[in-house]
Structure formats: C-alpha cells, structure tokens
Amino acid sequence: MAETLIDIKNLKTSFSINNEYHAAVDDVSLSVKKNEVLAIVGESGCGKSALAFSVMGLHTRAKVEGEILYKDENLVNVSPRRWNALRGKDLGMIFQDPLTALNPLMTIGDQIGEAIFLHNSSMSKAQRKKKVLGLLDKVGISRSEHVYGQYPHELSGGMRQRVIISIAIANEPEVLIADEPTTALDATIQSQILDLIRELKNDMNAGIVLITHDLGVVAEMADRVAVMYAGQIVEIVDVETLFEQPLHPYTRSLISSVPSTEKHSQKLHVIQGIVPALQFLPREGCRFKERIPWIEDSEHAEHPELQEVKPGHFVRCTCYKNFYFPEDKKKGAY
C-alpha cells in the first residue's frame, strides 16, 4: 500500500459569526496517499475550500481543531514560521482564479523565482533563472525566455494558470492542493490543464487533493473521491464505484443532476432546497434529511457515522439503504 502523506483526523474548522463559532468543516477524517488524486466534491458552501485552506494553514481567523498529520507533525499547531517553511516547499497550492492569484506588478520570471528563492536562498541568480525557464517548459509554455520577462496581464487565462501551476510545483512539493483549478477556464483549456496536472502527478509522485464541483473533472482525474455535504464527508470511495454504484442520496442526487451526454433532453434531477447557511446547519442527525423529505425519518440514523459498507467504501447515515428518487416512484433499493 502506498505511503500516506497527509492524515487528517477529526478536523474541525469553525468560523465566528456574531461571536459564536460554527463549524464549516465538522469532524472530517481523510488521508492522502502518495501518487494519488483525491477529489473532494460538493456544492458551494459544503466546506471544500475551508478544508483545503485548513490543510494549507491559510485561515487567519478560523478556529482549527483536530489533527492534520504530515510526516508525524501536526500542522494544526505549528508556528507561522514553520508554516512559511512548509508552504510552497512541502505543500503546494493551485488557486482557483488565475486572474487574481498573480501579482500584477511582478514579472512572471520574478514571481516563480521568488517561490524558489524563499526556500533556497543559496541558489545563484543564474541558476535560479535556469530553473524558472525549466519550469516554464515543463508546464508547456513555449517561448519561455520571452514569457519570463512578461507581466501577468500580457498572458491569457490558460497561460496564467500554467504559471500558477509552475509556482506550485517549483519546489517539488509532496502534496499539491488544487482548489477548482479549471473552473475559470474554457473547455479546451480546461482539458489541457487537467492533462498537465496528470502528467505532473506521474512525474513528481506527489499526492494531489483536487477540489471541484464538476463531476466531469472528477471522472477525468480522480483516483478516490470524498463527497462533502454541509461540512461532513458523506461518502468516500474509488472513482469507478462512485459513478457506477454511488450509495449516499447526496452523491446519487448530484450525479443525476448533471446533464449527461446520453440521456438527451430528459428531465434532470433537482435536489430540493439549498445548502443551509453555516449558522443554520442541522448539527443533530442526518444533515441531508431536509433535502430528501420523502424519505421517512426512521430511515435515518440517530447519530449518523461514516461507516465502511464495503472495503474502501465509506457512507454516512443509513438513509442510503432504502433511498429512491421521487420521480422513480417505486422503491428501488441498491
């Protein structure tokens, strides 16, 4: 079995609203292994990004509890100084919006060079430039000499995203966190960037956490998938089982609400209601209950836990057992 890089145990990230803390990430346990892509899926407001930011130590005001173990070091308690050494070196991050993640006043070469300099100040200027040019080649930017001296506004969205990826991988991190890396990009550029990330994964042997709401991206990229709803993980499974035999009602609802290429102009499934706001999250019982009101209360567990139903397949709550879509009318148990 592959080596575990990051082991998250009972992570709880809370934000203060009106002087009361509400958990956006509520008791999440996960692990990321070497050379695997773990996708985290869910609607907006489910806590995906809050989870990623906790792992990167980017929260400034949130209360983070629990354990994030990276090489036996609990990242929850490390000092800002230690964070600066870890971030960008051991842990790299690809941000969502390539338009705002780059400094508009620095040349591309300087920005990538900075990431190298901060973790390896002994390297000479000439060596550093050589390394930056190598990185630009690696992420598929042709004419790297020319781009080296350019400013972000001179590049297209796809090119900027490549630059951001090159910054993230500048110090060969062991863990790469990609927060919606292609959401802001056109379809053709998206597929290029995804292919690039996959190539880099094979090259660097890194573990990648891919955060996305796009199930198409999940199907293309992930090895394992964690589905998040309202701050909790409701299902973890390998990607093939996720699409073939999803169990949790939320996962099944998500999958059937995607306009699939096969069932043209059939009705899409609609999940009733909305993800409740943070301060109104139901903290007791099954959090998805409100959105599947046709399922009887007795189907839900009183204290829903993430349980291993098959080897490697974890599902929360018991409501998946007799779940059916109201449009199917009859109870079709999985």
Binding site: Q190, E220, V258, S260, S265, I271, I274
Partner: protein
C-alpha cells in the same frame, strides 16, 4: 416559419488611439454571422470566451449596435433604432449570466419584475402586484417574497427572478446568455428544467448562449459553433456531436470531460489525436488571418466552414 433570422451580422468595436483619439482599427467581435431559429425550438450558440457569442445575442436585443447586417424577427426587419420603436422589445427578452450583478440590489423584487410591465402596460398598483405574484409562483418562488431584496435569495432563486422578469411580458423569444454558468450543478438542473417547462407552456423560442457543451447538448435542437466572430460549424445536435467536421468543433467535443472514469485513457488519446490534427491542419481550416471560411452545406442540416474548392 423562422421566428428569428440573422443575415450577415457584423458588430465591430472601434479601437481609439493616437493623440486625438481617432479610430485606428476595429475589433471584429462578430464578423458575418447568419442563422435562423424556428419557432418553439432552442438554438445553442457555443464558443470560447471572446468568440462573439454574447455580442451576437446582445446585438439582437439591441444592447450592442449592429455595424452591418440584417435581423428579421417574424419576417419584420429590425433596424438599429432607439428605444421602444416597435413591439420588439416586448417580444424579445434577455436572461443574463450573473444572477448576482444583473438584479439591482436596491430594488425590491416587486420593482424588478414589474419594471418591464411598467414600460409597456398600464396597470393599476393592485393589478401589477397580482401579476408579479403570479409570475413569482410560475417560477416557483413564494408570492410573499415580493417585498424582499435580491440579497435575501440564493443564486438559483435570483436567476429565477431574472427569468420572471424576462417572461413578464410574455415574449416570443428569449435570449439566455450563459444562464447557468454561475450556478452549482443542482441549481443548474433546476434552472434548466424550469426553462424547458416554461418553454413548453408559453411556446417560447430560446437562443441559448453557453460555453458548456454538456448543457447545450441537453437543451438545444440546433447548434452553432463560433470562433473569432465567425461560425465554424452549424447543424443539429446530432450533427455536431456525432459527426463534427471542422477541426475546431472536434477539439471542443473532445474536451468535454467524460463522466465515465473507465473512458479516461480513451478520451485522453482522442484529445491527443485531435490536438495533433489541430496543429497540423490549422492552415487547412483557417485563412491567412486565422479566421474561419464561409459556411458550406454538407447535408440538409449541416454546414461547415471549409475553404471553397478550386
């Protein structure tokens, strides 16, 4: 009978330069687009950002000035005119992309939805209120929410307010500019289903502008693919997805993420093949300025931009 016919539409924006701010060049955002939409159908306009799809839609509603070209709505020609000259503004409505910025945050839902009614119909306060409540019910929002403000709604609900505003005057044609791009999948499904329902109910024609081919495939009967202000291919949904002819279309279709993880390697290989072809055959499909050629029919329904033979 076609409800909307566009002939050789061009929208050019001037680039000002020099000391006197003279026009030095033009950006040809839309450069010779022709299309026809049948009544009661949905036409999909696809392209990357910057391909001119939104500008085309906006030109039809009159939000962008047409440089040249003709637009016929129900066989009447639409000219570049000022406001409210014909019934056009009543019959053609628009749904905007971003439900967060397309609703005035300082107006109540009542005022937002009633605005088109106030422009075209003389209703008493009570009648107006009743109409707005009916519209809200039609889009699945509670009629009590007329006095709320947009920020009190979620993204999907806001988009429905935008839809309620668009259908307030019972238009014949709705131009939907990326109506679901800013929404989560579950909310997206809601809005798409709803658009289909309302289309049936009101016998609407939709011009659906999107960059998401999955959504386009789900919604549209006919599709036009734009690249740099021109059409590269036009045809039925089947033509475009099962028999794409232009290299640009092939590239777009190949880029759709496959929802089946088992197809991952296969679709990666297809993408690589298409990419090789794109690089090799680029000059065959585009002229010396990198623009698409004129559309040539290859079957009754299917048109592809290919160089003229000979």
């Amino acid at each position: 009978m076609s409800i909307l016919r566009i002939e050789d539409l061009r929208v050019h924006f001037p680039i000002k330069g020099g000391i006197f701010g003279r026009t030095v060049d033009h950006v040809k955002a839309v450069d010779g687009v022709s299309l026809e939409i049948e009544k009661g159908t949905t036409y999909g306009l696809v392209g990357e950002s910057g391909s001119g799809k939104t500008t085309t839609g906006r030109a039809v509603v009159g939000l962008n000035h047409m440089t040249t070209g003709k637009v016929f709505f129900e066989d009447k020609q639409i000219m570049n005119f000022g406001k409210r000259k014909s019934g056009l503004h009543k019959d053609v409505q628009m749904i905007f992309q971003d439900p967060y910025s397309s609703l005035n945050g300082r107006k109540r839902v009542l005022d937002i939805i009633a605005e088109p009614l106030r422009n075209f119909e003389r209703l008493s306060k009570a009648e107006e209120r009743k109409r707005v409540q009916e519209l809200l019910e039609l889009v699945g929002l509670s009629p009590e929410s007329i006095l709320k403000y947009p920020h009190q709604f979620s993204g999907g609900q806001r988009q429905r307010i935008g839809i309620a505003r668009a259908i307030a005057l019972k238009p014949k044609l709705i131009i939907a500019d990326e109506p679901v791009s800013a929404l989560d999948v579950s909310v997206q499904a809601q809005v798409l289903n709803f658009l289909q329902d309302i289309q049936k109910e009101l016998d609407l024609t939709l011009l659906f502008i999107s960059h998401d081919l999955g959504v386009i495939r789900h919604m549209c009967e006919r599709i036009g693919i734009m690249y740099k202000g021109r059409f590269v291919e036009e045809g039925t949904t089947d033509d475009i997805f099962h028999n794409p002819q232009h290299i640009y279309t092939k590239r777009l279709v190949a880029a759709i993420p496959d929802i089946d993880p088992k197809q991952r390697d296969a679709s990666f290989d297809i993408r690589q093949e298409v990419e090789v072809e794109w690089n090799e055959a680029y000059n065959k499909y585009f002229d010396e300025h990198g623009l698409a050629y004129q559309l040539q029919p290859i079957s009754d329904t299917h048109l592809v931009a290919l160089p003229e033979r000979g």
